[in-house]
Amino acid sequence: MSNQPESEKGNAAADSSSNDELSSPITHKTRAELAAQNAKTVKKLVFVVVGMLGFSFALVPLYDVFCDLTGLNGKPSDQAAIYESVEIDTSRMVKVEFITRTHSDMPWEFKAQVADIRVHPGQMGEVEFYVRNPSDKDIIAQAIPSVSPGTAALYINKTECFCFKHQPLKSGEEALMPMKFYVDPQLPKNITVLTLQYTLYDISARVQPAVVVAMNNS
């Protein structure tokens, strides 16, 4: 810290007992000067306070950017990937397991048609998920994916997924929802099993049905 020289100066001045030379924060300071100096310090500190408040909200997008870049947190991309003709790595198989669950206040039935499939990295896989709305009201659902192990989230590319859209079902209706994906051949060799979990949330209260239809048709 830069305070050390000041301290030495203070000591030296004290030793020579010449009080005039002491570095002094408030000697010769008039009331007006002190008030001006205080106002300046306060301004700086208020700037820090406002900056930190902004930072706390900036943490929200920063967190997502950080998770996207590192693939931490098991959050796969919520954008459709484009299948490039990658070389299929036939030397190994990856087992992809599917887990489905519904949030506590969500009445739908929701299950994958197969519990797991085995694919070569680079090879397209396709799975269908069955949903039924047994309740007596129309519900709009949103599926949120999560990948385990979390670091594998970067390597699972979905070209089509029901989780990219809101899913409306009328009372008593049922549907099969498709999901197409391929595993990036760059997937680290030590990962042989991937678990893809979908949680279904009732988001009827958040969105207007008309908006969903318009969005999903576009």
Binding site: N3, E6, A14, P25, L34, A35, L45, V48, V60, D78
Partner: protein, 536 residues
């Protein structure tokens, strides 16, 4: 900005302490309108003490329910409100205001300033505080009860599963935050601009140093807390999805934001304690503090490190091993500067001419018991064992050792140390010794067995427990009631002291006490250092 207590020309020697005194209004309005740092310090300290008793009463409810297994006294929802509000009150209502009160009383006297730099803001930062806690306590009487999601208000507990009182909780935290930020700005401005001639940074008493660093921590992280509670408010009432996965948010992100505030917060509650102990130990050892400069650097490094360890509260949320390793080692590094401090206190006592007055007894208890709390913290920092200790009574034992026998004991030590200077009379030493020994024994009966039940797997924040924990919990509760009652001795002692009952003391009060505050008369006059002292 009122600086009416400052002379235009500090060099003039004709400053009369008395000629300001006729301005002081009498009765209640004196306290409502006061801009005097000593009055505001007193207000803060009384407020903190009252909140300490209120939060303590809630702890008594918790311990009464846990006296035996099963549900007998309160229903689980009310139990959750008690654990939540107990935590909030003790952190924001007792420990932090007590330190702010001590800063108000002592910082100007220690640096030779006539008052705080911003006296009117000082009045505001105190007087909004009672309203914050009235709102918080009032929420307990609402339909559906008060906040019941723990003082850490994790989403989705606070966003999806909480009651309407969450809005009141959020507003009261906003007010507490505003109060803390204003108080911190005041402390920083005072220390940077108002030091007496010759009071260079490296001559400042350590209490001033630790408070300067604490104030910077407050300014940095209280706005983050304000942001976090605002996000909870909008998630709950205005349909945003900061922490709701259904809308693209993430509940784990809440924990990151909260602990980015929360970890510096725990150092906010302990750094001023380090300053207090660094003042008391040299006095009663009749030696200079060992390693003054290393104390300053240790405090600064603890403050800086506190920003990069937050995720050690979240090891069990599922992190990559690399992140767990980083946060584990960063946390362990903090024990190095903390160890420097403990070493310096012990080295100060080494071959000193020790005497064991009450402040010194509390200071020594602090050093020993805070170190126990630090050691259990080090155990919790180890990732693989944290998976077992997480959310058990071991954690409860850890943070009560650092906060009760750490922060609270240091505040009591400070009160006993400076009380004679404030009142001009020696406090009742017999009562003080009773208070010390009763507190010391009961606090260990209260918190030490929590280590054992925690290691055996008893979860925290649950109103019931498995039968095998019954005996230990009975002892813990007995210790809790005894510790609670012991504080009534303190209350009686403080009331006696405020009534100015006791032997008059000298200006220096304690043989061996050094510093500007011991050079002014006892009791400290209403206005001090209107003419700045010259520091030798």
């Amino acid at each position: 900005m009122s600086t009416e207590t400052i002379h235009d020309t500090p060099a003039s020697d004709d400053g009369h302490d008395a000629h300001h005194d006729h301005h002081i209004p009498k009765g209640l309005m004196r306290w409502v309108l006061t801009t005097n740092h000593k009055d505001i310090g007193t207000l803060y300290l009384w407020f903190a003490f009252i909140m300490f008793l209120v939060g303590g009463a809630m702890a008594m409810v918790i311990r009464a329910e846990l006296f035996q297994p099963g549900l007998q006294i309160v229903d689980p929802h009310f139990f959750n409100q008690m654990t939540t509000v107990h935590g909030l009150i003790m952190v924001f209502g007792a420990v932090m205001p007590a330190f702010t009160g001590l800063a108000n009383w002592l910082v100007p006297m220690m640096i030779g300033a006539p008052d705080m730099a911003l006296p009117r803001m000082n009045n505001w930062s105190f007087w909004i505080l009672p309203f914050a806690f009235l709102i918080l306590l009032g929420s307990l009487f609402m339909d559906g009860g008060g906040p019941a999601f723990g003082w850490t208000f994790y989403a989705p507990l606070s966003t999806t599963y909480s009651g309407d009182s969450t809005a009141l909780f959020v507003f009261s935290v906003h007010i507490m935050g505003a109060s803390s930020i204003m108080g911190a700005i005041n402390v920083v401005v005072t220390i940077l601009n108002m030091r007496a001639p010759g009071m260079t940074y490296m001559k400042m008493p350590l209490f001033v140093w630790t408070w300067l660093i604490t104030a910077f921590l407050l300014i940095a992280v209280m706005p983050v807390l304000a942001g976090a509670v605002t996000m909870v408010l909008t998630d709950k009432f205005f349909g945003t999805s900061f922490f709701d996965a259904a809308g693209g948010g993430d509940p784990v992100m809440f924990q990151h934001i909260f602990w980015f505030f929360g970890h510096p917060e725990v150092y906010i509650m302990i750094l001023p304690a380090f300053g207090i102990i660094s003042a008391i130990v040299p006095t009663f050892s009749r030696k200079k503090l060992f390693g003054y400069a290393s104390m300053v650097y240790a405090t600064a490094s603890i403050a800086l490190l506190s920003f990069i360890v937050w995720a050690h509260h979240m090891f069990t949320t599922g992190m990559p091993v690399a992140a767990e390793m980083f946060f584990m080692f960063a946390t362990m590094i903090i024990s190095v500067p903390t160890g420097v401090k403990v070493f310096n206190w012990v080295a100060t006592m080494w071959r000193g001419s020790l005497s064991f007055e009450v402040p010194m007894m509390f200071a020594i208890a602090f050093i020993v018991l805070f170190t126990i709390g630090g050691l259990s913290g080090l155990m919790l920092a180890i990732v693989p064992v944290d998976f077992q200790y997480h959310d058990t009574y071991f954690v409860v034992a850890h943070f009560h050792y650092v906060l009760v026998t750490g922060a609270v004991f240091s505040i009591m030590a400070a009160v006993y140390y400076w009380l004679p200077k404030w009142t001009g009379k020696m406090f009742d030493i017999t009562l003080a010794k009773w208070h010390f020994w009763c507190s010391l024994v009961s606090v260990n009966v209260l918190f030490f067995p929590m280590h054992f039940v925690g290691l055996a797997g008893m979860p925290r924040r649950i109103p019931d427990y498995a039968l095998q924990f019954a005996d230990f919990n009975k002892w813990i509760s007995i210790g809790g009631f005894a510790f609670g009652l012991s504080q009534l001795i303190f209350l009686v002692l403080i009331i006696k002291a405020c009534k100015k009952i006791g032997e008059p003391v000298s200006d220096q009060v304690w043989e061996g006490a050094e510093g500007l505050e011991w050079e002014i008369p006892s009791p400290a006059p209403y206005h001090t250092f209107e003419t700045p002292p010259v520091i030798k």
